[in-house]
Symmetry: C2
Subunit: 673 residues, 2 copies
């Protein structure tokens, strides 16, 4: 649709029916990949973390791996069921932030928002780090330079999002379905080979795994429980991204809530299947896996240390290599799909960030400009901020998912908890007024599910805090506090301003007269236009004002002025120090002081040029002057533009920037150009 | 003098007599240090370069050192005499640029300006590099980290100049006179010790100096001449900065030209004395000095290689160490004065840059905003650019003055040449009209001096180009070409715009009606004020315009509007995609299309807040909107500011930024606050 058509539709002042926006809403088969990449991609690193934690107690502890997998799957199932309630109750797309704000108040809402902001940064850092670790298994030139590659990838993603990519369902669908096919296909192929009795071992199966120091002998029960708790909380990384669908309900086709709930269930089922598959495969194929900082705990079969330059490949890479030992394209397919979905997962943060930003802006917790389309500058700053923070984390933790994951899960579970707590309040409140017994039964059931969800996620949060606080979770909590304070201060500022701006009982004072001054730098078309426009407003007094540095130039202008028989008097302000702004500001103040009930209208002729470098060559002083005059009470500043030939180029650039597609468009639904 | 007083003086519209500006003009004793630091500081590196070049032919070639010193001194004397003519003929401070432009045309002027720009960058790079090389002799922690320290110093200088330092004569006088005392005092002390017969040798006197490969045996006459030419052209680095006074004539006390000419003579005499002193001392104290890249040509007395970590100290440092072998405070005084004057010399580039910028801006070769005070932004960019380029050079050439000097002298001599050529034309032109025989005699003599100057500097330029082109001078020439092209294109742009803006014969069309729209985001005081101001201008049609995203908010506003019995109609533009800018722009276009001879006046209420972070929270959309509306013909945009409590802070900050003292103030003269 051309600009003309759109313009007609918008400016005619009639309201667009929302059904008209339906055309780009997502069917379930597209919505699933759009919202699932983050949740599914965690299958690429969550199992690794479980095995790393268990390895502390030696290879015998690997017997617990599938039990921990089941525990994580249980939590995941609970969370999915809980969020199905959210999706029905809050179909507006506000997600956890809305649920917490509505039911628990502003502080809870902002806490959730802080947690989400921290999560976005960590999603980028963890996904990209895991992606390069996987890539290292297939691409020798990445091996050993993971940090650098991760930083380059983050920078690339940021650049892409700054540039503004047209989003399409296919861009999400192909890699996400590809990844599902890769993991589930690999599992099926492995099952087939196992049935034939020739499932090979992974490459690390021949290695010996020594327990960590302190865990060599008999392990006390408490130590073992603590270890299992840590493994479990690391495994819970698989839950990140499950809440994404609850932010995206408006993008679904009708019936929105129902479709979203179904998609959520589907997502949960697939994620659980993939997670358990990977864990079981790894366990049965003899995986030995340790913290990359603890590589010396891995030994060759004869007990001798590993060769120099040994690189431990990710769990998924080791499995794929072994399963497809007789079919290497399979290996490359799994690895490349894993890498791509991890990058896609990182990209969801770049998508989610502006969406959250606009919601926060609407509520006054973020700069208001984020709340409307059109301010790309604010968005760009957000994207740069996100990328910069992620790069800091990647460099600080050397692109090791194992380290980063310690920071990751706190934020997720803080918002899970507050969201479930909010939902319980929601149902309790509605139960107070609802009379219909069928409806009440449904509400009781929903509340029970959310209560169970809260209990489960609360336990996980406590476990996470206990096991990970000192390992890095404190950084995430600190960052959340910082975000919280900033958002609260922004809101305070807006509240204070709003209070100051409330209209009192007194009628506003009508200015009695307008004294207009037109700034003149030369006698040319822009000046003539500014004078004509100023005259058209019929001020009580109109004069042209020139700031003179130099007697000759001033004389010449005065002569020109006389010659052209200009009917507006020209006032000259001499400025021996070549200052422009100060004389004008002071003249405006003087006029205003002479007539405090009048208003001074300053008209500034402005050249409008096309190219950015031409822009630098003009209007810089006008810009500064306007900025300074705004501080002067009783003054209004009018720009009278004069469009030069070639300014069209600039208009087109401006429009391109203003109306470029924006990250996250697709998950918001309803954007038809 | 308070702001009030100044304001009275400026805005009353009467012209300030220039005598009133006299109060801060410089007496000769202050003008000398203000303008001399660059020229004098080259004594700290020019002798080193002479000895480095001569060392190629082995220590025997050092016999030529004082002859080369004399040759350089001769050129210096010629140049000083020539510039005394410039100072008398062009007392306005335009310097070489003005002389070339007036007498040889625009292209020559811009060539000189390009050369000066390149020179400013190189002055910073060379002076700072030489400064850290000297510092390395006294400060062990600098030794071996010269590049890093040089970069830090440049960054510090840039920061200081960005911040805006109040300049005072004392800040220039103390280090410059200190340096003169240091060098001349050292010479006197050395002479005393020599008279007593106990002038010690410098530290490198015991070393053996091997000739460079290819120069071991008998040297052909051509090779020797080439070598001497290279040594001479390196020594001519001592001439950089001599032209500074010709740019600063307006800052001198009356009689300006005479005082400037006298100061120039004084400067030349001091510089020559210092240069010759250093060369003679070095020669007599047995100096052995090679290119730092050729250190292996220095051997210990027994022919064995130098110990690891040997650092060759600068000539001035070696002399000072030996002369003051019995009085170490003397050594530290010389070294620290040398370091300080070199930093001061680098600072002159930061001072000269804005002065040149404003002259170029006046003539349309640089952004116009540079031509008036008040646009600090443009200056800041200039300072950052200068610092960045200098840092690039320092890093590329590892802070070695020997390498950098190859680029340096081309620019200086290009402007010397064009300036002298211009002066010859100047006298010839004046001789055509001048009748007074005494005056004519004076002119003939001046022309003869300038002709001799041109001959001399032309020879040097050719020698420099021949000996240094491949060693780095090509970089300087390339940079000059780039600057030249940029400046010419800027001027072309301004010329094109000016041609387009010339007022034709047709009278400008007076708009027949004004349709005013006031943008409303809420019903609060800023809106009320904007409505009141808009009403005061009595437009033909006035309406308030609101962009609605959301039915509830829109309804609430309409209700408020009715309740307050606003006498202005409110028009709602629905914008389902939360766009603000597009609906308004399109509405303005629609109004204009309906009435092409009318003008649309858009009134935007703006909040004026105090702190910078508050600024970010407001008006971002207004800013974008204004930017976009400027491209729409027939629209003028009025900002109606509403000053919030606390906006005073912002005004003060704005004034601080606008009226801060600016680098180069003192060399322009006449700035009384």
């Amino acid at each position: 649709m051309g600009v003309g058509g759109v313009s007609k539709r918008i400016i005619l002042g009639r309201k667009l029916r929302s059904s008209q926006l339906g055309e780009t809403l997502l069917p379930k088969r597209i919505a699933l990949p759009v919202f699932a990449s983050d949740a599914l991609s965690s299958v690429a690193y969550a199992p690794d973390e479980v095995f790393i934690m268990l390895s502390v107690a030696g290879v015998s502890a690997y017997a617990f791996s599938w039990k921990i997998g089941i525990a994580v799957a249980l939590v995941m199932a609970t969370v999915v069921l809980s969020y199905r309630q959210n999706v029905h109750a809050y179909p507006s797309g506000g997600g956890d932030y809305e649920v917490a704000t509505v039911n628990l108040g502003r502080r809870a809402g902002v806490t959730v928002a802080s947690a989400l902001l921290v999560d976005y940064v960590l999603t980028v850092a963890v996904s990209i780090s895991s992606g390069v670790q996987n890539a290292a298994a297939a691409l020798p030139f990445v091996d050993g330079h993971e940090t650098e590659w991760a930083c380059v990838l983050v920078a690339l993603l940021a650049a892409l999002n700054l540039r503004g990519v047209r989003e399409s369902g296919a861009a999400f669908a192909i890699p996400t379905y590809g990844f599902m096919i890769a993991v589930l296909g690999m599992t099926a192929y492995a099952a087939m080979r196992a049935a034939e009795g020739n499932l090979p071992d992974v490459e690390s199966a021949d290695l010996k795994l020594l327990p960590a120091s302190g865990y060599e002998g008999e392990i006390s029960q408490i130590a073992m429980i603590f270890l299992l708790a840590r493994a479990f909380s690391s495994g819970c990384a698989a839950l990140t991204g499950v809440e994404a669908i609850s932010n995206g309900v408006p993008a679904f086709q009708k019936p929105k809530s129902k479709n979203a709930a179904t998609t959520l269930l589907l997502l949960g089922a697939i994620a659980i299947t993939m997670l358990i598959s990977i864990i079981v495969l790894a366990r049965n194929m003899g995986l030995r896996y340790v913290d990359p900082h603890d590589l010396e705990r891995l030994r060759q079969g004869d007990g001798s240390p590993l060769p120099d330059g040994f690189d431990q490949h990710t769990v998924i890479a080791q499995i794929a290599k072994a399963v497809f030992s007789d079919f290497s394209p399979g290996f490359y397919f799994v690895i490349s799909m894993t890498g791509i979905i991890l990058i896609l997962a990182a990209n969801t943060a770049f998508n989610g960030f502006p969406v959250l930003g606009s919601i926060l802006a609407r509520d006054g917790f973020a700069p208001r400009a984020l709340g409307s389309r059109g301010d790309r500058l604010a968005y760009s700053n957000g994207i740069l901020f996100l990328a910069a923070m992620a790069i800091v984390l990647i460099v600080a933790f050397q692109a090791q998912p194992t380290r980063l994951i310690q920071l990751y899960i706190v934020g997720v579970f803080v918002s899970f908890n507050l969201s479930q707590l909010g939902m319980i309040r929601h149902w309790t409140r509605h139960l107070k007024t609802e009379k219909n017994p069928a409806e009440r039964r449904r509400m009781y059931r929903s509340r029970a599910i959310n209560t169970f969800g809260l209990a489960m996620t609360a336990v996980v949060l406590v476990v996470v805090l206990l096991t990970k606080f000192l390992l890095g979770a404190w950084i995430a909590i600190l960052a959340m506090i910082v975000f919280y304070v900033i958002m609260m201060r922004i809101r305070q500022h807006y509240d204070r301003v709003e209070a100051e701006l409330v209209i009192g009982d007194a009628d506003p004072i009508m200015p009695t007269r307008v004294h207009a001054i037109v700034l003149v730098s030369k006698l040319h078309k822009p000046t003539m236009r500014a004078l004509a426009f100023a005259k058209a407003t019929r001020p009580n007094l109109l004069e042209a004002v020139y700031v003179g540095f130099d007697q000759d130039e001033t004389d010449k202008l005065l002569e020109d002025w006389d010659q052209r028989r200009m009917d507006v008097p020209l006032k000259v302000l001499y400025s021996p120090y070549r200052e422009i702004i100060r004389p004008i500001v002071e003249y405006a103040i003087e006029i205003r002081e002479a007539n405090p009930r009048g208003v001074v209208a300053v008209y500034i002729p402005e050249y409008v040029v096309g190219r950015w470098w031409e822009q630098i060559l003009h209007n810089q002083t006008a810009l500064r002057l306007k900025g300074r005059l705004l501080f002067t009470p009783g003054v209004m500043v009018t720009s009278v533009p004069y469009q030069l030939r070639g300014s069209e180029v600039g208009k087109e650039r401006e429009d391109r920037v203003l109306y470029r597609s924006r990250p996250g468009d697709i998950r918001r639904g309803g954007r038809d150009r």
